[in-house]
Amino acid sequence: MTTIETTESLDPPVSAAQRFLSELIRSPKGLTGFVLIVLVLLVALLAPLLAPHDPAQQVLGARFQPPAFAEDGEWSRVLGGDNLGRDIFSRVLYGSQTSIMVALLVVFNAMITGSILGAISGYFGGIVDAAIMRVADFQLSFPFILVALLLLAIVGPGFWTMVFALSVALWVSFARLVRGETLKIRELEYIQAAKSIGVGHAAIIFGHVIPNVLPTIIVLATLDIAAVVLYEAAISFLGLGTQPPTPSWGMMISEGRNYLYENYWMALGPGIAIMTTSIAINLFGDFLRDTYDPRQERL
């Protein structure tokens, strides 16, 4: 049989940042997602500057005031007033802070806890591994909402309980990911070599496992952030999460649902905000996955 020589060209090395930017520019969905995310982050950061009114201030005269483009509306209250006369637009702006903060907190928690547990589980194996994975499997047999509700039931509704409940619900996917990677790497020769010359466990985990699995973790984290924004909204919608007067998009939709006849922007305003944020993060997360981890094509 014939063997054919090939000559291949080698691309010049590019820095990670350069690669990210060049890929981003070439991807319409990545770019859209990214731009929208930046927008939302800016809104969250600058809410106190951007909001025309205090989100908690109740003005009797502005109860159910129609939005600016309807008759009887004013441009000072673009989306009108809610059932207590608060400016809907300002509340929507401030609501972004809640969503972003919860999402970042939860994902950060879950990422750290999950990764560490996963690494320990994969690296040491044996009983530790079995124990951790049993708990993970047990938790996975139930949909996330049930786990969250149980925790909320035990500790009582509230912002921090919700953060805790969501973190608990989310750690498993990170743990499994890191565990899988750890198992693969553990058996590689250069790891055996490192171990034989006395390199410590922690060094191996942090020096080898984590860098290898980092891109996948970041993709997972990004997509999870989108999910958490929605979960927080759902739980707050039920009244079990963020408590008044802190504005939360989910809670606003819940209140708005009761007053759809009076001013449906109470619900629609935060609704559009959630949709935009969620779509943005999903698009960007999709882009990340296509670029950095194409074998994980799930959607």
Partner: protein
């Protein structure tokens, strides 16, 4: 002289790709007589598989046969309607595919899959008779306990057995032409020999069947075939009797192919690959497509495409060296 069984003239098959139009078969002319076994040799990407698919008119869109003629048993295949062509497939023309595990449908029993050929071509056949014929065929291809295994699923068979099932489906209606596209490539070496043996036996027992054996392996083709056609980048470069090609190859590509085969009977210093890369089917080199890799290339080769010409009775070469 009676008309050849199969006569291909200037066949061109192309695929649109992102990079441009890919010409898989670039003006191939070939004839095949009844009962003949022809080997079609070439490396991956030479177009040999697409040639086979083109004859069967199984080229899937967006690829298509763009020009040329194919005459089979007196009929122009390219002029037939879809349903008329369909009636020929499995009955007068059949194909054996490369990877038996991928070729068999995992959720249907092998009895159902072989029986399908009978059901579509003999619509009034009764279930009992169908079963009988399928079992008989399974027996002929060497499947032990054929009658019990009729209702088994493909995953219950080994690779070699699966290929026998496919051969059974291809030959059950005694087609005049069988195109075997790399039938042994996906199998173990020992199984390879068995399958080739089976093909030879079946062919000898079947008076009318002609076989086109497509392969990248000269050894396989040399064993089985009376004539060999060598393909490179969509063109035939040499066609001759098997012995002639193996003992005295004329085209530099053929020479290179044979020289690169590792030999067990001699001491070999190093392997002899053909240098360079396969011609790009989207934008091939000007003139002779092989010239960048040919040690004998001269000026004419860079400019003018050589045409397949008869060198002596039964020998054709497409090379300016032999013009």
């Amino acid at each position: 002289m009676s008309e050849p069984l199969l006569s291909i003239e200037n066949l061109v098959t192309r695929f649109p790709t992102k990079r441009g139009r890919l010409t898989a078969v670039d003006g191939v002319s070939l004839t095949l007589e009844r009962r003949e076994t022809l080997g079609l040799v070439g490396e991956s990407g030479s177009g040999k598989s697409v040639l086979g698919l083109s004859v069967m008119r199984l080229v899937q869109p967006p690829g298509k046969i763009e020009s040329g003629t194919i005459r089979f048993a007196g009929t122009s295949l390219l002029d037939l309607g879809a349903d008329e062509m369909r009636k020929l497939r499995g009955q007068r023309l059949a194909m054996i595919f490369q990877d038996p595990t991928a070729t068999l449908n995992p959720v249907l029993t092998i009895g159902e899959q072989i029986g399908e050929v009978l059901r579509w071509h003999l619509p009034s056949i009764r279930p009992a008779e169908l079963r009988e014929r399928v079992v008989e065929m399974l027996d002929r291809v060497g499947i032990p306990n054929a009658s019990q295994r009729f209702g088994d699923y493909p995953h219950e068979f080994s690779g070699g057995m699966q290929q026998r099932v496919i051969i059974a489906a291809a030959l059950i209606l005694n087609p005049a032409l069988v195109i075997a596209d790399e039938p042994t490539t996906a199998l173990d070496v020992t199984v390879q020999a068995q399958i080739l043996d089976l093909l030879r036996r079946l062919k000898d027992g079947e008076p009318e069947t002609a076989i086109i054996l497509v392969s990248h392996d000269l050894g396989v083709v040399g064993e089985m075939c009376e004539r060999i056609a060598v393909m490179y980048a969509g063109n035939l470069v040499e066609v001759a009797a098997a012995d002639d090609i193996l003992d005295d190859p004329k085209h530099p590509y053929t020479v290179g192919l044979i020289a690169s085969i590792p030999r067990l009977d001699r001491e070999v210093g190093a392997l002899n690959p053909i240098p360079g890369r396969l011609a790009d089917p989207v934008s091939p080199p000007p003139g002779c497509k092989f010239h960048p890799r040919c040690i004998h290339a001269f000026d004419r080769c860079r400019v003018e495409r050589p045409v397949l010409k008869m060198l002596s009775p039964g020998r054709q070469v497409a090379c300016h060296l032999h013009d």
